[in-house]
Structures are given as structure tokens and as C-alpha cells.
């Protein structure tokens, strides 16, 4: 009985792993869209904070990418 439970447990975490990977992948896509969104916004209204916004969006994208790679390694 305990063996069956163990197998079910392993199966569940396998599914959770795929769910996590999918979620983080969607987040990477979202981070890429944010870069485009900031480009659009800055072209509509450009002021003194254009460069910081663009930089933050690019850093955010790379953080998301690193998390995705980390999740592949860790999970």
C-alpha cells in the first residue's frame, strides 16, 4: 500500500514539475512582451525615465530566463 502511495506521490510531482515549467515559460514570454510594451509606451510619451524603464525591462527578461533555466535544472 505504501509503495502505491509512493508511486502516486512521484507521479503527482512529475505533473507539478511540468506545470511549473509551463508557468515559468509563459512568464518569460510575458517578460518579452513587457519589453515591447515599454518600447511602445516610451515612443508615445518620452521623458527623462526612458532609459531606466528600458533597462529594467531587459533585466526583468533575463531574470525570467535565468529562472526558467534554473527550474529545468532544479526540478
Amino acid at each position: 500500500m505504501s509503495n502505491i502511495n509512493q508511486i502516486i506521490n512521484v507521479e503527482i510531482w512529475q505533473y507539478v514539475k511540468y506545470f511549473y515549467l509551463l508557468f515559468i515559460f509563459i512568464y518569460v514570454v510575458f517578460a518579452a512582451i513587457i519589453i515591447r510594451q515599454i518600447q511602445l509606451m516610451v515612443s508615445t510619451l518620452n521623458g527623462t525615465l526612458d532609459f531606466p524603464f528600458k533597462t529594467i525591462s531587459i533585466i526583468h527578461f533575463f531574470v525570467a530566463l535565468i529562472v526558467f533555466l534554473l527550474s529545468i535544472v532544479v526540478l
Partner: protein, 225 residues
């Protein structure tokens, strides 16, 4: 026949614009600048008068931004509280305690995903607040709205087309922090422009009326751009 003579006489009058009349429209602009000087000296992010280093997409070379408006800072309160509350949840209520069966590697990734989610909420709300602006120039009123990640809508009306300006302030927060909604009825394609939750709505309504008078004066002086 007398009408023809009087009409010719009238147009010749317009061509010989007296320096005194030219000064009148400029005088109104000076009054507006003097009224808003306090806001230029102490600019807030939500209400900036005559911003120096700011341009928008469709701005003409001779066009000057009079006021740049965003929703009052206090409107961000809700999502800031949400983000702060979400940030401390894993500290007081660790995921390991909620799901004791969860392997350590999954606990680590759940924490990372949780904070990514917080980052996404912060970014989206901040960007939406910062770039959803209302611009009043000496020629036009522009309402810039970003509805979703990549969809934007820009509505504008010429100051000449402004028919009626009204504002409303209701509720505890709006009364305390002096912000409200300015409604602008226009004769343009978009019949109404709405500046939601903007600071100093009474001042904005006053400036819009002054700009309308200034624009009418410019027309009389024959200096229409």
C-alpha cells in the same frame, strides 16, 4: 450692397492687427503660467505644469505642453498594499508548512514563482499608472490609454472644440487628497473626454477655460495655427 462695403472694411481691420490685441492672447497664456508656477516649482508625478524634458508622439514643433496629468498617487494604494501583503506571506506562512509533502526543490521553485508573480503585478500596475496620461497643450487635449499589454488608444480634441468642462469629487479619499474626475464635452469626433482621478480638478477646469478663451482670442487676432 452696404454689407459688402462693411465686410471689406471688417477684413481690412483684421489684417491690421493692433499690437495691443496680439498681446491679449499672450497675456492670457502668461496668466496661466503664473497660475501654474507653483506646480512648476514643486512638480508632482501626477500633476506637472509646463514639463521641460517631455515630448509625446504627435506633438507639433510649436505646440507646448501646459499640464501633464496622471491619476493621483493614492489610486496606487490598493495594489501596493496587495503587493506588500503578498511579499510577507511566505515569511509568516512558509509553503513547507502549507504543503508538508512538498519536496524541498519544489518549495524553492514555489517561492521563486510567488515572487515573480509579485514582480509581474508591480510592473503591470506601475507601468499602467505611469503611462496612462492626460495631456493638455496650448492647442489640444489628449487622453492616452493603454488598455492591455500592447493595445493603446489615443483620443484627442482641439481646444476650439471644447464646449463644456465640468468636474466631480466624491468620497472620503477624493475630498482628503483633492482629486476627482474632469469631464470635457467636445464638438469633436469623440464627444466626451474623461480625466479620471486627477489631482486638482478645479484647477484643471480653470486652465481649460482659460485656454479656450485664449484660443478664441487668437482666432480674433487671426493667429490660428
Amino acid at each position: 450692397m452696404p454689407e459688402i462695403y462693411s465686410a471689406t472694411h471688417h477684413s481690412s481691420k483684421l489684417q491690421n492687427i493692433s499690437p495691443k490685441k496680439i498681446a491679449l492672447s499672450q497675456q492670457i497664456m502668461k496668466e496661466i503660467k503664473a497660475d501654474l508656477s507653483k506646480f512648476k516649482k514643486q512638480p508632482s508625478i501626477a500633476f506637472t505644469a509646463f514639463p521641460d524634458k517631455l515630448k509625446f508622439e504627435t506633438q507639433e514643433s510649436t505646440e507646448e505642453i501646459v499640464i501633464l496629468l496622471r491619476q493621483h498617487m493614492i489610486t496606487n494604494f490598493k495594489w501596493i498594499v496587495l503587493v506588500l501583503a503578498m511579499s510577507v506571506i511566505p515569511i509568516f506562512l512558509p509553503f513547507k508548512n502549507i504543503f508538508p509533502m512538498m519536496p524541498v526543490r519544489f518549495v524553492l521553485m514555489t517561492n521563486i514563482i510567488w515572487y515573480l508573480l509579485i514582480l509581474a503585478i508591480t510592473l503591470e500596475n506601475f507601468l499602467s499608472w505611469y503611462f496612462n496620461v492626460n495631456i493638455i497643450t496650448d492647442e489640444r487635449i489628449i487622453d492616452v490609454d493603454f488598455y492591455s499589454l500592447i493595445y493603446k488608444r489615443i483620443s484627442e480634441a482641439k481646444i476650439d472644440n471644447v464646449e463644456d468642462v465640468s468636474y466631480s469629487q466624491g468620497g472620503f479619499l477624493q475630498a482628503i487628497f483633492n482629486f476627482g474626475t474632469v469631464n470635457i464635452q467636445t464638438a469633436a469626433e469623440i464627444p466626451e473626454l474623461e480625466f479620471e482621478n486627477v489631482p486638482n480638478p478645479a484647477r484643471i477646469a480653470k486652465v481649460l477655460n482659460q485656454l479656450k478663451i485664449q484660443e478664441e482670442q487668437e482666432k480674433i487676432e487671426g493667429r490660428v495655427r
